[in-house]
Symmetry: C2
Subunit: 528 residues, 2 copies
């Protein structure tokens, strides 16, 4: 594997080279070759300048041209999959099957957006016809559609080295909408990032696009990323990471002379509500599913269920003992980075030391490297309500059971929840009718409500909403997964009184792209 | 007319009463009765608490119920129209015909949103069906739709005492989406605000809604408004006003522990590009239209054309002399408030004193009160580029002609523009094909491009986009006029694996509301 370790600035590799850093193998905690070099501020500026230049052309690319580009990226990643997965294993210690699935998902996302932009109706074209006879003034012809917003900065996530990194969801949706993308690679998997970045760079070449459509910046720290978000030519930001990091970027974006939209997905504890009937009838199955869900990916998913509300009733002991035996049988876990491990250890230590929390089951890890102890805690509803720290996300293989006395206490807890990505309800149909108001509360707290399932495993579909009120994200009015993510990186533009031939194809009388349009308030594919 | 002068907190009138203030008659600059009282912080808190309480119920009102409510508001305003218009004339000095048209527009907006929510397809329902046989994991059933965001704070605008104030566009779209609204009345027209507020309060009663669905707060200063934007139970903000005021609220919204979306429409100079062919063929007509547009409403529209780019060619003298004679024949103008007048006078004075700007035609006002001198300026393209102050909005009956040497200079100016609400092009079809790249640039700078028309007069339709990149608005990804404004105040929520009967009607198998839905990626009204 021949890694250069340099940022990709349009069609070039950076030659200047800032501070050097390396990836670490989580199984050994040892640095691995080669050196990577942080982007300089000049390189940030150059990437932004190129993206701005490219926007003039790429923003006017047709749906077909963008679809070809997105499919080419997917194809290039598949061609390099062997190498990509090998390097990703080294940098993340994630199992090969998971990385294969993630590669497939990454390419699937790119192809989903290719299909969306090739079909074309996503632009929400609207046409209100003129009425020259209207009194007192004639009514003009007005037509609107979504247009891309401008160069987008995307921050790679530590926990999805492919699907939410260089060629991940944010990149795919931003490119699909017609925006150049500048990725700030996550420093935990720079080699994987370089390989994905090269696949995109090659696709830019293959499709003869302006080189500024894509750049990839390395940085071991936060300077390049902050400079990117501050850059006047950058018009929107996608970020997946910690609450602290996300909020810092939100504050930078809001304090710019020209504030820009930022979509930061930050932290979520994903409450699970096991209702009385479900616990009575399915304690064992739910326990097994819960264990699999909170330990999946070593508990490093943004949708990991981190607090589980269980009613005080006889079946609770069966539920807990099933979890205990799963804990006892568990394999060792490796976390992704040294800093995730430190944060996890601190989080676990705090809970162990809290007198209101009990360690129900734990399993010390015997592995080397960034290994993680498994830890299952429990607390009372009262203690949970009194201690906001118990609501916080602990990134890693741990969860917290909260024992409550029944409906009223549960609703009170639900009302006090902050924003999360998901909430999960396990219930029978009787439970559901008794807890209708719980659903009403949860609708205001999360982006996705899961019934009799588990929140991990986010489908990439048209209806998926992977978002939620702050602090789950910076802005709960959008999703980072699924085809609706394309709406993040565009804005409506309207054309008044334009001659037909000067309009974008989407808005021309004949409807040459045969897309769905709202014509005088009615959806139709008909021409005018 | 019996005005109480008190804030409306749900079903009650405030009795406490903070600082007193009065409206002013712009024709005399004299205060008019009665006293109005600024809301106290306790009243802000109480309005927010009630709105939060109401949200639980109102967010679940059906489209039909919300439509009835919106139509009832329109009906109540129409019933009180005589009184409303009389008071608005006193407080704004706007002509009766304009206030009648604005009342009709206000009621029209409310009824448009009534129709949108009654029809119901606006929620963007999406259904992805389950596939239990998918490998390696079964695919769950996922359904999503837009849901209201929570209590919305709306700030009334000075220049639209009805259509962008208490019962104006932001209130209508927020209520249509299912959100309680707390309006901070503009202190320039408190009586008009009280009458509109009472019409809404009565509609809340008529429809037996929770009283917290609507409150109206008075404030002579900025405290109540700032407290409202800071309030943890307020979830979004709509504002129309100055750049300074809008940016201050943006900063407050972004600095909250839980930042919230804010839609501030702030300032726009609405560039007009008169292309060579158009000037050659239509100099006189364009001059007449431009005069009418920049003096409409005494130049106090956010869409007023404040800079006009004209090529140096022989017809420019005809164009200017036509403008001069319109200026000479003009009637007197009154501005809306003393502070708008001071700002206008300062703006005009600065231009008169600038050695790079020439007063082409002016007309001192002979009226009493908040009268305004008409002022038509011109400058060169070079001076315009060198002095950013010449791009700034001057709210009142004045505009600036910018003489340029041709295509290259014009494109360079266009590239340097900041965000505006609109841009206007006057051109022949030859002009249009020669200046295609001008349109491409303007698409990135404004929300609406007008061809051979004028930007004032914003149609309330489905395709309208009244928005634009910062600093025209806080977030160019939305519109404050037209039916698409409903998307501001909602967020997508998805339901995974839900039993049919537990889903909102919009997402149930039978499609009981007969709305358009995206079913496995295809738009249809079919049931499952």
């Amino acid at each position: 594997m021949n890694l250069a370790g340099c940022s990709i600035i349009g069609s070039r590799r950076s030659l200047t080279g800032g501070t050097g850093f390396r990836a670490y193998d989580p199984t050994t905690a040892q640095a691995v070759e080669p050196d990577f070099f942080s982007a300089t501020l000049d390189e940030v500026n150059e990437a932004a300048r190129l993206a701005h230049e490219a926007f003039v052309f790429y923003s006017r690319a047709s749906g077909r041209e963008k679809a070809e580009f997105l499919r080419r990226i997917a194809g290039n990643i598949e061609s390099a999959a062997g190498e990509v997965i090998q390097r990703a294993r080294l940098e993340t210690a994630l199992p090969e099957a998971r990385l294969q699935a993630e590669t497939a998902r990454t390419c699937g996302q790119l192809r989903m957006f290719a299909q969306v932009v090739e079909e074309g109706s996503w632009v929400m074209a609207r046409i209100d016809r003129a009425d020259p006879n209207r009194k007192p003034n004639p009514k003009p012809d007005i037509r609107s559609m979504l247009r891309p917003v401008g160069p987008v900065a995307v921050f790679g996530a530590s926990n999805f080295p492919l699907a939410f990194s260089v060629a991940g969801g944010d990149t795919a949706s931003a490119l699909a909408a017609g925006n150049p993308v500048i990725v700030k690679a996550h420093p935990a998997h720079p080699g994987t990032s370089e390989l994905a970045g090269r696949a995109i760079q090659q696709a830019v070449r293959d499709c003869k696009l302006h080189e500024g459509v894509f750049s990839l910046l390395f940085d071991s720290g936060t300077e390049a990323g902050a400079a990117l978000v501050r850059h006047p030519l950058v018009k929107a930001v996608g970020f997946t990471g910690s609450r602290k990091g996300g909020r810092a970027l939100m504050d930078i974006a809001a304090a710019r002379p020209e504030p820009i939209p930022i979509f930061a997905e930050m932290s979520s504890t994903n409450p699970v509500f096991i209702l009385p009937g479900a616990l009575r009838e399915h304690a064992g199955t739910i326990a097994a599913g819960l264990f699999a869900s909170f330990t999946m990916g070593a508990g490093q998913f943004c949708t990991k269920p981190g607090m589980v509300f269980v009613p005080e009733q006889p079946e609770i002991s069966q539920f807990i003992s099933r979890l205990e035996s799963s804990v006892a049988d568990a394999a060792d876990f490796h976390l992704l980075t040294g800093s995730i491990r430190s944060a996890y250890e601190a989080g676990i230590r705090n809970r162990k030391e809290a007198c209101t929390v009990k360690l129900v089951a734990g399993k010390p890890s015997s592995a080397a490297g960034y290994c993680a102890d498994l830890a299952l805690f429990e607390t009372s509803a009262k203690s949970f309500r009194d201690d906001p720290a118990l609501s916080e996300e602990i990134f890693g293989p741990s969860t917290l059971l909260v024992r409550h006395s029944g409906r009223e206490e549960l609703l009170e807890i639900a009302r006090r929840l902050e924003g999360h990505l998901t909430a999960t309800i396990h219930g029978t149909s009787e439970d559901l009718s008794e807890f209708r108001d719980l659903i009403a509360i949860l609708e205001t707290k999360v982006g996705r409500i899961v019934f009799n399932g588990f929140p991990t495993g986010v489908e990439v579909t048209h209806a998926m909403v992977h978002g939620g009120p702050y602090p789950a994200t910076s802005d709960g009015r959008s999703t980072s997964v699924g085809s609706q993510a394309i709406f993040r990186f565009c804005r409506p533009v309207c054309y008044q009184g334009f001659p037909n031939e000067a309009l974008p194809a989407e808005l021309q009388n004949a409807n040459p792209l045969a897309i769905w349009r709202m014509l005088d308030g009615e959806l139709t594919k008909n021409p005018l």
